[in-house]
């Protein structure tokens, strides 16, 4: 079912929480270097879809196929747990809405950035530290803060630290769950700018969940609009947002104050 060159393909995903359909026949494709936004209101199944696509949750029905770095295709449902975990700590990344969920708050900023390198077998302190300094600079954190605890960082800095920690191993695919949620507007703008620059420069594919149409417009090339577990509209971001076809998308676009 997977097309040549696709990084990830999902077909017929179904997931019910009791009587509530969180996913109801969802298909999705992702190509290398592409940013795909999943938008919709709360409870529409966006985060559930992200969890299923990343293998953190199993669907009741349907398949998710992924292409590994060596070109082989495997099914997430049948992939052994060690292989999935290895994928998550090297080839993939996950950016949580709350950076405190992902960071080790009792480990210094440098240790947080270096953790994925050490998990992959880096055993040279000097090079781990050099990479940490480099990545702190890339996410616009003063490298002199490398030995500070994340607890002394502001919310925006924590989110940037999480991005550095995730990207240090050069993943090909990053899942982001509301990466700018809970930040004030000026910090959001700066963070979005940073994400856009990094993603474009490194050619990372991103699946981005957001309820904020403006975030999707700024970052994503393609967009999926979800409502009650179904994908109601999908296409190029500008096309969908400038000329929404589905009633729900029209409502969503018109509800934004100055989109």
């Amino acid at each position: 079912m997977m097309e040549d060159g696709a990084l990830l393909a999902a077909r017929g995903l179904e997931l019910h929480f009791g009587a509530i359909p969180a996913l109801d026949g969802v298909d999705a494709d992702l190509w290398p270097g592409e940013v795909l936004a999943i938008v919709g209101e709360s409870g529409s199944g966006k985060t559930t879809l992200l969890d299923v696509l990343s293998g953190r949750m199993r669907p009741d029905a349907g398949h998710v196929q992924v292409r590994s770095a060596d070109g082989g295709v495997s099914d997430l449902g049948t992939m052994p747990a060690p292989a999935l975990r290895a994928l998550h700590r090297s080839d993939w990344g996950f950016i949580h809405q709350n950076p405190r969920d992902a960071l080790r708050m009792r480990v210094s900023a440098g240790g947080n950035v270096g953790e994925r390198m050490m998990a992959q077998g880096s055993r040279h302190y000097g090079s781990i530290r050099a990479a940490a300094i480099d990545w702190l600079q890339q996410v616009e954190i003063d490298p002199s803060r490398i030995d500070d605890m994340p607890g002394t960082f502001s919310g925006g800095m924590l989110q940037r630290l999480q991005i550095a920690r995730t990207l240090v191993t050069h993943p090909r695919l990053v899942f982001m769950d509301e990466p700018t949620g809970g930040l004030d507007v000026s910090v959001q703008a700066r963070l979005l700018d940073l994400i856009r620059t990094l993603v474009a420069r490194l050619g990372i594919a991103v699946v981005l969940v957001t309820h904020d149409i403006a975030v999707a417009r700024l970052l994503a090339g393609r967009i999926m609009v979800m409502q009650r577990g179904r994908v109601v509209e999908t296409g190029l971001t500008d096309q969908v947002l400038d000329d929404p076809q589905h009633g729900y998308t029209q409502l969503l676009v018109s509800s934004v104050l100055s989109a």
Binding site: R85, R89, S108, G110, G111, M118, H124, Y125
Partner: protein
């Protein structure tokens, strides 16, 4: 039927000959418990460094005093064994004296303070200076068997990490040490990789003793009573201390010679001798020290 003949019927030929057996089963624990612990030990030896759960029993001493080690010793003790018990290297401290007396009374086995003469050595926080030989068994008392417990509080998660050999986290701890102190400041309970597979806590022995774990001729058994875990290193197994390429592992000792036997290679205790800060350094292994002093006096 008298009580004596009843006992004769139920006891094995081996245990009949000993008077101490009227009060206790040989070596205190009942036979079914020892059997259960031996099965855990066999599994532990078969999977070096892997923590095997076991049904830890209440022992007549508090947790933290060696309940795990004492159960392992009780399960492997035979009538012909010679037992040595050390606490921080010393044969004459409270913990060592009471555990040695416990087994002398409940098993009637011979005890010794000489490392070379012992067949089983139960230890808290040290490995004897005298090299161990084939056939000897070293039993460690372990307070916390999980080396990653301070980094990952969930035991379910650490078990998963062991299963998948995901040990990057332990290097994060060493990274933090170097960042904060300029060197790896972990001086005891220094994590090791056993047989290239399992990350293991060597119990709170000084890092100085870590090289002695590597390819030791003796069988090394670890018992954690409160945490209900047993693990083992079979003889001649590779045990490697974790480190970084540019910050290699170092076995640290105080840069002095022993004030009593003048040995400059052993692990030393620092003893404060008055209230003006005067201190002396003496061997932590009392058997090693007294043996050397006796040899020097004889010469």
């Amino acid at each position: 039927m008298t009580e004596d003949t009843m006992t004769d019927d139920t006891m094995t030929e081996d245990t009949m000959t000993d008077d101490t057996m009227t009060d206790y089963t040989f070596a205190y624990l009942d036979e079914q418990t020892k059997r259960m612990i031996r099965r855990a030990l066999l599994k532990a030896v078969a999977i070096p460094g892997h923590q095997v759960p076991f049904g830890s029993r209440e022992m007549p001493l508090p947790y933290g005093w060696g309940t795990g080690g004492i159960q392992v010793t009780a399960s492997i003790l035979g009538r012909d064994d010679v037992l040595k018990v050390i606490d921080q290297g010393a044969d004459d401290t409270t913990n060592a004296v009471s555990i040695r007396r416990f087994f002398a009374r409940t098993a009637g086995v011979a005890t010794t303070t000489h490392t070379a003469d012992a067949t089983i050595i139960q230890t808290r926080h040290r490995i004897p200076e005298h090299p161990l030989h084939e056939g000897q068994i070293l039993v460690f008392q372990v307070p916390m068997p999980e080396p990653m417990s301070k980094l990952q509080p969930s035991r379910a998660e650490t078990r998963r990490m062991h299963a998948m050999a995901e040990y990057g986290l332990m290097h994060v701890k060493l990274y933090e040490d170097i960042t904060r102190y300029g060197h790896i400041a972990t001086s005891y309970d220094y994590p090791v990789m056993v047989h290239g597979r399992y990350l293991m806590s060597p119990s709170p022995i000084p890092a100085f003793d870590n090289p002695k774990l590597h390819r030791s001729a003796a069988l090394q058994l670890f018992g954690a009573g409160r945490e209900k875990r047993i693990y083992a290193i079979p003889p001649h197994t590779d045990v490697v201390s974790l480190d970084f390429d540019d910050h290699p592992f170092r076995a640290i000792r105080a840069p002095h010679a022993c004030a009593l036997c003048n040995d400059a290679t052993t692990y030393l205790d620092e003893v404060v001798t008055d209230d003006r800060g005067t201190r002396m350094y003496v061997c932590s292994d009392t058997d090693h020290c007294t043996t050397r002093v006796a040899a020097q006096e004889a010469a």
